[in-house]
Point group: C2
Chain length 370, copies 2
């Protein structure tokens, strides 16, 4: 098997003198590969020259290369002693571009927001791409530019990444998985276990816009409503609220499953109940109209730029004022209260005194919205 008399396997094999070798190798110098393709091919995922060219031309170009002289596999972070938050999410939204955003900013904002609602200050992000063969490289460049803009807006650095390419039909355009690390300020404690009866429930902004914007962008419904995704980093909102309401008990961004589902997760974890005033929950008129037409409860629609928070009643007004002073927080609202009984239940009260119970989302009215 190791017979050296076998035919040469490489066209580069040279049985020449050392001088000949030295002469020929000049041709290999200064050979940093350049991207000349218009569409992604399997070679771009093979880890060789084409991969390097794609990463250089698209991702390093957009994100910057933290250590251009030594592009290793892992980024090195300088951290203080203490607690970090660490999270990940995959993004498979279809279509990849929609009013108010794209899979690129969503992939950054979603992970930034998961860190922020844990009480962390988001700092570093990784991005891994699974690309379908044949995707336009211009589309990829736009997605990468969206990611850079979102990262800059959120104050995070994209420090490491990966690119895989699968054959046509083995994926749908592009999936992005981001992971994030944030630093939790000393002394900050949050958790469902800290929530108490009487606490106020706040939301940082209107619900329902993201899921409906993506749904309508598919163009399969004969509805033409100006619904715009709320894709946005909430980290600045979180920090402003924590300053104004340091007793904040719990936060959660209401993504898949919507506000209704995250409040259910809260009551189950806390062993308490919540009562929400339907009229107090902000919903953009266009999003509400689209929900009404499709028979979808906005409480179950995914959001990507708002969060729910539980704060002590005494700090609720200060929290709201802080949220409302910032972009993305103008419609922040107090939507209800935590109760001891009935426990484990999300009850929604309307203006006529009727009450409905909102369970966790069952089924999936809106697949692939994030």
């Amino acid at each position: 098997m190791t017979d050296q008399a076998a035919p040469p396997r490489s066209k580069n094999r040279l049985n020449d003198s050392e001088d000949d070798v030295l002469a020929r190798i000049e041709a290999f110098r200064r050979r940093r590969p350049r991207l000349i393709d218009e569409f992604v091919t399997l070679a771009h995922g093979a880890g060789g020259k084409a991969s390097a060219a794609l990463v250089d031309a698209v991702f390093f170009e957009a994100f910057g290369s933290p250590t251009p002289s030594d592009p290793g596999d892992a980024a090195v972070l300088e951290v203080p002693a203490g607690r970090l938050a660490f999270t990940t999410d995959s993004y498979v939204v279809n279509p990849i571009r929609f009013p108010g955003g794209s899979i690129g900013d969503l992939a950054v904002n979603g992970t930034v927001n998961d860190l922020a609602v844990t009480g962390a200050v988001p700092r570093w992000i990784t991005a891994a791409f699974v690309i379908e063969e044949g995707l336009s490289i211009d589309v990829l460049r736009e997605v990468a530019a969206d990611m850079r803009r979102a990262a800059d807006a959120a104050g995070v650095a994209i420090v490491a990444g990966d690119t895989k390419v699968v054959p046509r039909g083995a994926a749908d355009k592009v999936f992005i998985t981001t992971a994030g690390v944030g630093v939790i300020p000393e002394g900050r404690e949050l958790g469902a276990r800290l929530v108490e009866p009487g606490d106020a429930i706040l939301v940082s902004g209107p619900i329902g816009s993201h899921g409906m914007a993506v749904m309508l962008a598919r163009g399969t419904l004969a509805i033409d409503a100006p619904v715009v995704s709320d894709s946005r980093a909430v980290s600045a909102l979180v920090e402003a609220m924590m300053d104004a309401a340091p007793g904040t008990r719990w936060m959660r961004d209401a993504t898949r499953g919507g506000l209704g589902t995250v409040l259910n997760e809260l009551v189950q974890a806390a062993g308490l109940g919540v009562i929400v005033d339907d009229d107090a929950v902000p919903v953009e008129p266009a999003a509400r109209g689209a929900c009404d037409m499709l028979g979808i409860d906005p409480l179950y629609v995914a959001n990507e730029g708002m969060f729910a928070a539980i704060v002590p009643v005494a700090q609720a007004d200060a929290a709201l004022a802080a949220l409302r002073s910032l972009p993305g927080g103008a419609q922040a609202a107090r939507i209800g209260e935590v109760v001891a009984s009935p426990s484990d239940i999300v009850a929604v009260r309307n203006a006529f005194g009727g009450t409905r119970i909102v369970d966790m989302l069952v089924g999936d009215p809106l697949p692939r919205i994030c």
Copy 2:
């Protein structure tokens, strides 16, 4: 749009007395959803009840839930002050199971190894799944079990995750993206800039087995060779080598693009050259045979359980002895040396004195091998 006289949108709406409400809500208690499905559906990715059931029954079951009372979006890590390594990789291997491993252990080992060769002690992993609708839940359970076994073997905890489901045909079975964080011991410095002419090139084990094992497992070639993937965490090997050879300059796991490509990355980053002795590079006989039959140079075949290292000559024997004493390191070998000139070149010398230049991989002889 907010007219409360509109027909009720939820079947749970109750316009009854509070007592009636209280009576009915008993039915909602103790309602932690249980997984009763055999195949993954879109609802398992919607973030609602089915998602919770899938995560409980498959992922929490396999990985353990770090904070079962409060399953938030981000894990909280206690870290010392200093440097962390942070990395990510997506795994799209086809088939998802092959001799010696599966997409599950690969997704853990690959990210563990990226951290280890940065000089970090791997500690925490996240795992994000993009699942094709219709995948058997038993298959997913097996993949999760493989991940847990690999994580335990590597001494890392899987601390956070995500599950997305895409419609049939929008992905191929399952893609897994892991991200990892490791702690870099104080004072440890590695990098291509530290490499010097005369340094020894080591490999921790044989090359070529992983890529060929996956290729043959597809069954599209009429070759029946006992090639087994080397999927394995190298973190223990790295630590043993760093103890024995504290002057180690640089390490890299030779995954996509193979040993030939990572050595090219090294010479480009260091501005030096390397000369490799072809006969000294360990290749399992079955893997070499398969490479010969397919006309593939083992230097370009992906590995998932070995790494290349540059060490000072004076520490090379100690490093080799340390590697050879551990599982996965028995075939560790010294395969060549770093040279000042010709620079930027990976030259491979055979037993007859012939020399070939091994460039970075061009094209992709083996798509979707990791």
